[in-house]
């Protein structure tokens, strides 16, 4: 009996389409490359340093938590690396190392692992970390101050900051085309609109992110900004400006679409995206913060479980 061949036993189905968490994470990182590449081109070695340090720290925190919580080692699935990369994309190139170290700690440990790891986080880990950093070390994350020593050949002013502090006249120099091509200062991977759009469309076409969230988020921003703009064009910026500045595009493609903290049914996805978009413009136009994407998406992360209760009736139920 001992020489018997043993077969693999398992439950049906015996086919699988090859999806995996790892392929998802690596594709997200791959899709981020155009925007990240542009960031490194603009800001040079410091930007590369922030990105690499952020990814390695995130993976290290994940490993430490795996060991501490006696869970299987999960850095291979690429999720920690993707979180590290996206966090770095939001930061200015001159961020000091200790902010990156703390930020990745907040993202991986506070944002993800203490809830039980992958899939259990109620908020987008990157946003949890970034919100805490933003409230704690305002000056380091103020792009105008942080990027003071750079001159890249275009107006070295953070567009949303300029709008908030100096009014609509200060943003006259920004053209939609320029903003799209990355002629604005901002996060390492958040300023090149074209790169983000290319990456985002890649993810949508490959089915790794849900297009419903992306488009409802962008439409939410566009419509709300348009309404403000119509009501008082001298005070509120045009919708295209809102679409192409700050964290709008990275928010639409990489932040709002995080799996675990966003809904999966059609109507909830549309509500979630549109709501986050509307709140973003509300915060930008009448709120206290310069950019609203981070907090707006976080608010709708909280609403996600409630929204996702709107779902179609299962087959044969209620008859």
């Amino acid at each position: 009996m001992h020489s018997q061949k043993l077969f693999i036993g398992s439950h049906a189905p015996y086919f699988h389409n090859g999806n995996s968490v790892a392929s998802k994470s690596y594709n997200i990182m791959f899709a981020a490359l155009p925007a990240v590449g542009m960031g490194i081109y603009q800001y040079g070695i410091p930007a590369l340093a922030v990105i690499t340090f952020s990814i390695s720290c995130a993976m290290l925190w994940e490993l430490i938590m795996n060991i501490a919580m006696k869970r299987p080692i999960s850095i291979g699935d690429g999720d920690a690396a993707a979180i590290g990369l996206i966090l770095a994309m939001l930061l200015p190139a001159t961020t000091p190392w200790w902010i990156v170290l703390t930020g990745t700690f907040l993202a991986i440990v506070i944002g993800k692992q203490i809830f039980g790891g992958l899939g259990c986080n109620p908020f987008n880990p990157v946003l949890v970390a970034f919100a805490i950093l933003m409230l704690s070390w305002k000056n380091y994350l103020d792009f105008d101050a942080a990027l003071l020593n750079y001159d890249l050949g275009f107006k070295m002013l953070y567009p949303l900051g300029a709008l908030k502090h100096f009014g609509i006249n200060a943003i006259g120099d920004f053209t939609s085309q320029g903003l799209l091509m990355g002629q604005q200062i901002g996060g390492i991977g958040a300023s090149c609109g074209l790169g983000l759009i290319i990456g985002g469309l890649y993810l949508i076409l490959r089915g790794y992110i849900r297009w419903e969230i992306v488009f409802s988020f962008l439409i939410g921003i566009f419509v709300t900004a348009l309404l403000y703009n119509i009501s008082d064009p001298d005070k509120y910026a045009a919708p295209m400006f809102h679409l192409l500045t700050g964290y709008t595009l990275i928010g639409a493609f990489f932040l709002a679409t995080e799996d675990s903290s966003s809904p999966v049914n059609l109507v909830p996805m549309l509500l979630y995206g549109a709501g986050a978009g509307i709140f973003t413009v509300l915060i930008r136009n009448i709120g206290a913060f310069v950019d609203g994407v981070v907090l707006a998406v976080l608010i709708f992360n909280v609403a996600n479980p409630l929204l996702d209760k709107i779902r179609p009736k299962a087959l044969g139920k209620g008859i």
């Binding site: 398992s10 049906a12 189905p13 086919f15 389409n17 999806n19 076409l205 089915g207 299962a314 087959l315």
Partner: protein
């Protein structure tokens, strides 16, 4: 294995393969083995087989009753001597009795079926047809005792196959049209109904014009063959969650079983040959005809398929079959396919939590909120699963597990949930 398309936004269409029209269907006959194994699902609760013992002589087509006080029986598919009777536990604790028969080279047919057939009384004949190739539980459909099962007044014959890559019913449609015609007439007479609907993929519709029954087509897209889906898409009737189509007085039967019924009355012999689709390691397919009870090993040996340590052997198709641990298990009346998967092809499940990617929600034909369901099932909240998250709406097609990014064995969770829920309810009833 059908992989996710590169542009994953467009969902993969899992199609049942159609046999190439105008090409003859090649069916390979498997030589008879020296031993035949019969499996009997023991629902009686009795432990020991009292009416059959090792050393008894049996004839081909003989009706074997194993226990006292039950009308259940099996048909011996070989002539010879009973060598061994043993007990096995199967899927979710089902009890099986296996009877090994050392086969004599010559078949001697038991005459009882023939005699009953000549008398022309259907009720006596049906006593031998509790299982036919293609349908193991025919007794529930053909039941003549209305107290036991609700009477059926509509019959759906499935010309569409029961899993991906499987082509049994199609083969029958292509090769045994006369038997089918016979079978339909007999079925209509036994069941006292003319409301018979033949469901086929569009490619095979023309074959059936001469059968004289209503023919409806369904798209050959998985999981359209499931009775619940046929009820919804073809008959436009929704079966309430947790109920079977039988509760709506609709019976489902495979074309293969109907053809076997026709053959039984034509030849006055109980059909004991089963058409099988053998799916090799490279996903290529061979159609074979083997006697019920033939050990799987003999079929694999005939086809030159070698199984190694760490491979997977599945009785049934790739989406709904059962992985088995031994090559000695026999072909049964409802074994539609034998699938062999090499070690390297197997994608194993993991214990990752649900990452909420929503793939299952998009794939589920029954609109079950799988992402929530799998969470409550994982925590053993079976009541919640049944009441709020559509546990009993699930038609068990396995598409959720097929597309799962986290590779969670979703269907396994669901089946376990249904099983545990039934146990809980039984316990509650017996305590009440």
């Amino acid at each position: 294995m059908i992989k996710r398309p590169f542009f994953g936004l467009i969902q993969a269409r899992l199609k049942y393969p159609a046999l190439i029209p105008d090409q003859p269907v090649a069916i390979k006959d498997i030589d008879l083995s020296s031993k035949i194994v019969l499996l009997y699902e023991n629902k009686t609760g009795q432990q020991n087989v009292s009416r059959l013992k090792a050393g008894d002589k049996v004839k081909t087509g003989q009706r074997l009753e194993l226990f006292e006080n039950t009308s259940d029986y099996i048909i011996s598919t070989a002539t010879g001597e009973v060598k061994e009777i043993s007990k096995h536990t199967g899927y979710f604790g089902r009890n099986y009795i296996s009877i090994t028969i050392a086969r004599n080279p010559e078949d001697q047919w038991d005459e009882n079926f023939k005699t009953a057939g000549q008398a022309g009384n259907y009720e006596d004949v049906i006593k031998f047809l509790g299982a036919l190739p293609g349908e193991a539980g025919l007794s529930t459909l053909l039941s003549l005792n209305p107290a036991e099962h609700p009477p059926i007044n509509k019959i759906v014959i499935k010309g569409i196959d029961n899993d991906l890559l499987v082509a049994n019913n199609q083969t029958i449609l292509r090769t045994q049209l006369d038997d089918l015609k016979n079978g339909i007439d007999i079925l209509s007479e036994i069941m006292h109904t003319t409301d018979i609907i033949f469901v086929v993929p569009p490619a095979l519709k023309t074959q059936l014009s001469e059968l004289g029954v209503t023919v409806k087509t369904v798209k050959p897209k998985y999981p359209n063959h499931f009775p619940h889906m046929i009820m919804k898409n073809v008959l436009r009737e929704i079966v309430p969650a947790g109920k079977s189509p039988g509760d709506s007085k609709t019976g489902f039967i495979n074309a293969e079983a109907v053809a076997a019924l026709g053959m039984a009355f034509r030849d006055r012999e109980i059909p004991i040959y089963k058409i099988l689709t053998v799916i090799k390691k490279d996903s290529s397919v061979v159609m074979v005809r083997a006697r019920v009870g033939t050990p799987v090993k003999d079929i694999l040996d005939t086809l030159g398929i070698e199984l190694n340590h760490g491979d997977r052997l599945v009785l049934g198709g790739p989406m709904t079959g059962h992985a088995v641990y031994s090559e000695d298990l026999p072909v049964m009346y409802d074994t539609d396919a034998i699938m062999v998967q090499g070690k390297k092809q197997i994608i194993l499940s993991t214990d990752t939590q649900c990452i909420n990617c929503g793939e299952c929600i998009r794939a589920c034909p029954a609109k079950v909120p799988v992402n929530m369901l799998v969470r409550v099932l994982e925590n053993g909240l079976y009541d919640d699963a049944a009441d709020e998250y559509g546990l009993f709406s699930c038609i068990e097609c396995g598409l959720c597990a097929y597309v799962c990014s986290a590779r969670i064995p979703v269907l396994h969770f669901i089946m376990l949930g249904k099983h545990e829920y039934a146990l809980l309810k039984n316990a509650e009833e017996s305590n009440a």
